[in-house]
Amino acid sequence: MKRTACLFICLTLIFTALLTGCHGRVGLEAFKTPESFDTSRSYEITFWAKNDTNKAQTDIYSKAIADFEKYYLNIHVNIRFYTDYGRIYNDVITNISTNTTPNVCITYPDHIATYMTGVNTVVPLDELVADPKYGLGGREVLFDGPRADQIVPKFLGECRIGDELYALPYMRSTEACYINKTFVEALGYTVPDILTWDYIWEVSDAATRKSEDGTFAVNGQNVMIPFIYKSTDNMMIQYLRQKGAGYTTADGEVQLFNDTAFGLLGDVKEHVGTGAFSTFKISSYPANFLNAGQCIFAIDSTAGSTWMGSHAPLSDISEDMFVDFETVVRPIPQCDPADPKMISQGPSICIFNKQDPQEVLASWLFAQFMLTNDVQTAYAETEGYVPVTLKAQQSAEYVDYLAHDNGSGGDEEYNKKYYDIKLKATKLLLDNIGNTFVTPVFNGSASVRDAAGQMIENVAKSVRRKETVDDAYMRQLEKDITALYRLDSLAGKQEKAVDAPDLGKLPESAAVLIGMIAMAWLALLARGVQAIIKKREQKKS
């Protein structure tokens, strides 16, 4: 009987321990802001940063770290550079299971939604932002950072997933249409302030006319792709938004396969067929063709504006390939010019949770430093980015920067800094912040985005390959894309991964109570078994 009692006690203890530890998913404790930052200790934090393969940007990151470390001598930041969001995403996912994520990371909210499938992996920032000591504009923060109300509210709102803030915006851009105005006018058209889709298709088709010698009439060259789109996922997403058609819902319902989307695919089919349209994936960078006089409408990010135009400071093509023309910048084509809509994009910063809350606080201080004026204005000026803080946007230095929009008359550095196309692209976004939008974020939203672009790529490739693109093709395309991006596993299966509260460990008292109930049941069971054995033994005797 003593042995049985011992066994019961052991089982109960094991059972209780299991209950205490395994309530919900295994993961880190939720982050709690420490009362104070322990400056007696040293911290080493890692920062995974994305740049546009741009030395000016990597230099700014390095300078930002050096400047930050002057304020916080006990925090050392190790940076790792990436040139591709996809690679950061992949590496973070790989490192979540081993809790070897970076401390701070440049990312997109779409990606954060997937990171959040780990328990307490990403630090929610509302509490930190509002912290009177270490929050934005907090009294214990050693540098002059922005207050929360000095971040452009729309940009800050884009970093909310569900009701919680999970990132800080770092830079913002949108897409722009870079136009060879000289060629447009040679074709007998003028460039309106706002392009429509009908306009861009019409002018593009007109530019495909050839001379008797087989060259294109508009440029006298053998190559002319009038309209090239860099990011076809954005092309589909923005078109759907402009038309008021479905894309996804906040709870992850995929509405991408609708008549409006197939309507755009019909346009793509038609104009790839005439040779008027192509994509980056099929043909190469729009800038290469635009600058060589082989493209009229090049749609790319405002953050790629230094590569655009007949005097672009950055280029992948040799100088002898450049053609002289007048470049103008316009918003992307619209369905309703009176109500323009364009995507808001650009890097954000998230913070990963760690076992040591002090280390997380150090990460937060560094993330906050990336919003200081010097970092914001310097980085924004490398490309057609817009600073995310009103404090930086309204700073004397930035206002002066925007006033220089001729981009000529100085040395190479001056012309690069004040390149007119870059400044016009920047102003395009500043003038249209109210017309920007973002798509709902959920675990899998990055896949839907990929799917949206792939539909256009597939149709374009099929037309070029002279495959039949009809209703049956579109039905099959929907099936193929759904399977490829596993979209059927998203619809209706969002288990609120991004906003479900983590219940944490079971309270000890509850665990003990459940353990005692289990022990009572085990005791009853054992008593029953004992009674049966006793009866059998009595029968035998």
């Binding site: 393969t53 030395k55 550079f81 990436y82 099929i282 992948d316 040799s318 070029r464 390959r465």
Partner: protein, 240 residues
Amino acid sequence: MKKIITLMLVVALVLGLTACSKEDPSKKSEGVMTYAQYEAAAIDSEVVVETYVQAKQGWWQDTATIYTQDGDGAYFLYSMPISKEDYDKLVPGTKIKVTGHKAEWSGEYEIVDAKFEIEKGSYIAEATDVTSLLASADLIKQQNKFVSFKGLTVEAQADGSAFLYNWDGSGTHDDNSDLYFNVSVNGATYTFTVESYLCGNDSDVYKAVEGLKVGDVIDAEGFLYWYNGVNPHITKVTKK
């Protein structure tokens, strides 16, 4: 005597078999294009080729980019869908039959959306010396082939260094950035690249290029990649 005759017959048989089994990398199966037919095929048309793996870039998201070559020319298989298990099977020399579409991207001819099957056979291409062709319009006929260059002089970058991490110096060794270096020969300068997905920062060629000094004279080997002009992916550098 019988023993000697038997031995000679065996030796003859072995030699004969060895000779018969020697791979002819230009020979094609039924329904497969010759390199000339591939070269003549229109952009976007379907192509079917038999070719031999020479090198491969890293496996990434169920795809890989493969450098292949037969007895007559080379085929660049861009972002071919492939499982990790199959990727591991594609060691240099492996013969594969590839069905895909011919594409052109910034001057680089490649096969995209490719499917492949492994066949029996093996062939490793010898490097073709294209030094004298570098300034020639005929160089493009060697595109994607495994090639060599002799007697190149390392030229200074804009900042005076012998090489850059990334095209503008924005990368680092630790980030496994591509290496860019300029070399001159016969009065013209060319940009060569160590593509880090092909030869990463732990490879001999990566370390060798990191050790270059302006003015060094080198021989190099690699694949004759194209990006808006010739832009070889270098796999070996030898200082002279």
